[in-house]
């Protein structure tokens, strides 16, 4: 692992009850780099994230993490039982060993556009609000590595672009490494440095290309939002059979039905 790497996975394979979920997956996230994992449902995206976090021990392969790195994690969703009385303020303070001071907590919540929910109970938040609070909680830790599992789920369209902007800004200004999952292949933030297309194995990995100011995007989202959207283009180095398994690329490569990244 190079000194710049925060986390590095090599040849990671995971199987649940004999069913392969990840097969020989490699991945690295360096400081200030944003790596986005895309792929269809059941591609193993969340499993990959959990392996990177050390929550799942892979059957094969190695996971190296910078032991000094502070990690901010945003799970796909949080289901806090309604019987647990917990204010947003307390939930944020729990992320810090000392509980943190009020200003810190307020700043991070303002940053994600949810300053107004500070005194509310976690169980009363809407899905989008809860997701923003989760992101604020990850940021308040001043992380070296942000691990985000579909961080904008339930957030409205304009809010999604804002949050992606925020994440990209943090990564590039403060040198935070970001490992992020998105199930939406067509909308990957422009600032993503690397896209990893996952379908149990890594189909391909590459740089996204910023979409030009296409009139339809502008009409749909407005010019500000369009800046945050990109279409991911890449070249395949292999093909797929109908079951998703890899075959060598031939000139007439046709995507298999499971490989929706073409």
């Amino acid at each position: 692992m190079s000194p710049d790497d925060l986390v590095r996975l090599t040849g990671v394979s995971v199987a649940f009850r004999g069913h392969a979920v990840l097969d020989g997956v490699g991945l690295r996230v360096g400081r200030g780099r944003i790596v986005t994992v895309v792929g269809p449902n059941g591609a193993g995206k969340s499993t990959l994230i959990k392996v990177a976090l050390g929550l799942i021990v892979p059957d094969r392969g190695t996971v190296e993490r910078d032991p000094a790195a502070v990690i901010g994690y945003v799970p796909q969703r949080l289901s806090i039982d309604r019987t647990l009385p917990l204010s947003v303020r307390r939930f944020l303070a729990m992320a810090l060993p000392g509980g943190g001071d009020g200003r810190n907590l307020e700043e991070s919540l303002d940053l994600v556009g949810a300053g107004h929910v500070m005194a509310r109970q976690m169980a009363d938040l809407s899905g989008g609000e809860a997701q923003r609070v989760l992101l604020a909680r990850a940021l308040v830790r001043r992380p070296d590595l942000l691990v985000l599992d579909e961080p904008v789920g339930g957030v409205d369209m304009a809010g999604q672009a804002e949050l992606y902007d925020l994440i990209a800004g943090r990564a590039h200004d403060q040198g935070i490494g970001v490992l992020m999952v998105s199930h939406d292949l067509h909308v990957v933030m422009a600032a993503t440095d690397e896209v990893v297309c996952l379908n149990r194995h890594v189909c391909c990995a590459g740089h996204p290309e910023t979409v030009s100011r296409h009139p339809e995007y502008l009409a749909l989202f407005g010019p500000r939002v369009a800046d945050s959207l990109a279409i991911y283009t890449h070249a395949h180095d292999h093909g797929h059979l109908a079951d998703g398994s890899v075959r060598p690329l031939d000139p007439g490569h046709v995507h298999g039905p499971e490989c929706r990244h073409g």
């Binding site: 976090l53 929550l55 647990l84 009385p85 917990l86 204010s87 729990m94 509310r120």
Partner: protein
């Protein structure tokens, strides 16, 4: 007031002190069925205690702890103990305990006392044992409180933030097992879970933080013990069920109070 009533009150208040906070975790983490399974299995502990010639209570504590460890191990395996599996185990153990107890001709066991509690028969020694156990349980609970609350919110998040979730889970299971053993003496096998769940549920509406709910549950439990024992003395009703009836009355009263808003 008669001395036996004071002894009962002392033991009952000691139980309320631990049942409050632990009951909150039982409610938050939906472990009510786990508590039932422990209590029913504990009847086997009486048999074990008698066979080994130790006190029945020692057998109960040993069996509760063993079952908690087994169940904790099953959960770590990922093969989650389903409701039906717990149910089969609980009722199987209860039935087996009853069969074995009746087969032991030479010893006479006050079965009703174990099933429905025999708090009026506790000695000062028993009361001291309950309070000693309570101090130990509350100390352990306080030492692990941050971790336990964090893992109740989200286990993955807690682990990423450096909490030892495996140890926390084990501690919680053991503490619940100990409090179940203590509660058996007071309200009996059939009503153990009531002592854990009802005061905590009653405190929910008035609480804004986990600590407030735990404190409220202690007060509700203490009040239920006092009212139940008073009623039992006054109307000559069985003490364990009277305590639970008082707890249910307090719970209903809490539902009728206006909800505290933010």
């Amino acid at each position: 007031m008669d001395e036996f009533l004071l002894r009962a009150l002392a033991a009952g208040l000691g139980l309320a002190a631990v049942a409050g906070p632990l009951g909150c975790f039982v409610v938050w983490r939906r472990m009510a069925y786990f508590g039932d399974a422990l209590a029913h299995t504990a009847l086997l502990g009486i048999v074990v205690g008698l066979l080994l010639g130790t006190s029945p209570l020692a057998g109960v504590v040993a069996v509760c702890v063993a079952v908690a460890l087994i169940l904790a191990g099953m959960r770590r395996d990922g093969r989650l103990a389903s409701d039906s599996l717990l149910g089969i185990m609980a009722h199987g153990a209860l039935a087996l305990g009853l069969v074995l107890l009746s087969a032991m001709e030479r010893v006479r066991v006050d079965l009703m006392g174990w099933l429905f509690g025999d708090i009026l028969a506790v000695s000062w020694e028993d009361a001291a044992l309950v309070w000693g156990g309570a101090v130990l349980v509350l100390g352990l609970l306080a030492a692990h409180w941050r971790c336990l609350v964090a893992m109740t919110v989200d286990e993955d998040l807690a682990r990423v933030e450096g909490h030892d979730v495996g140890r926390g889970r084990l501690v919680l299971m053991l503490l619940v097992a100990l409090s179940v053993a203590a509660a058996m003496k007071v309200v009996g096998v059939m009503l153990v879970t009531a002592m854990l769940v009802i005061p905590a549920a009653g405190a929910r509406r008035l609480a804004r933080t986990p600590e407030q709910m735990a404190g409220g549950a202690v007060l509700a439990g203490a009040l239920a013990v006092s009212l139940g024992l008073g009623g039992s003395w006054h109307y000559d009703t069985p003490s364990g069920p009277s305590i639970v009836v008082a707890a249910v009355g307090l719970f209903i009263a809490s539902r009728l109070m206006p909800f505290r808003s933010a």
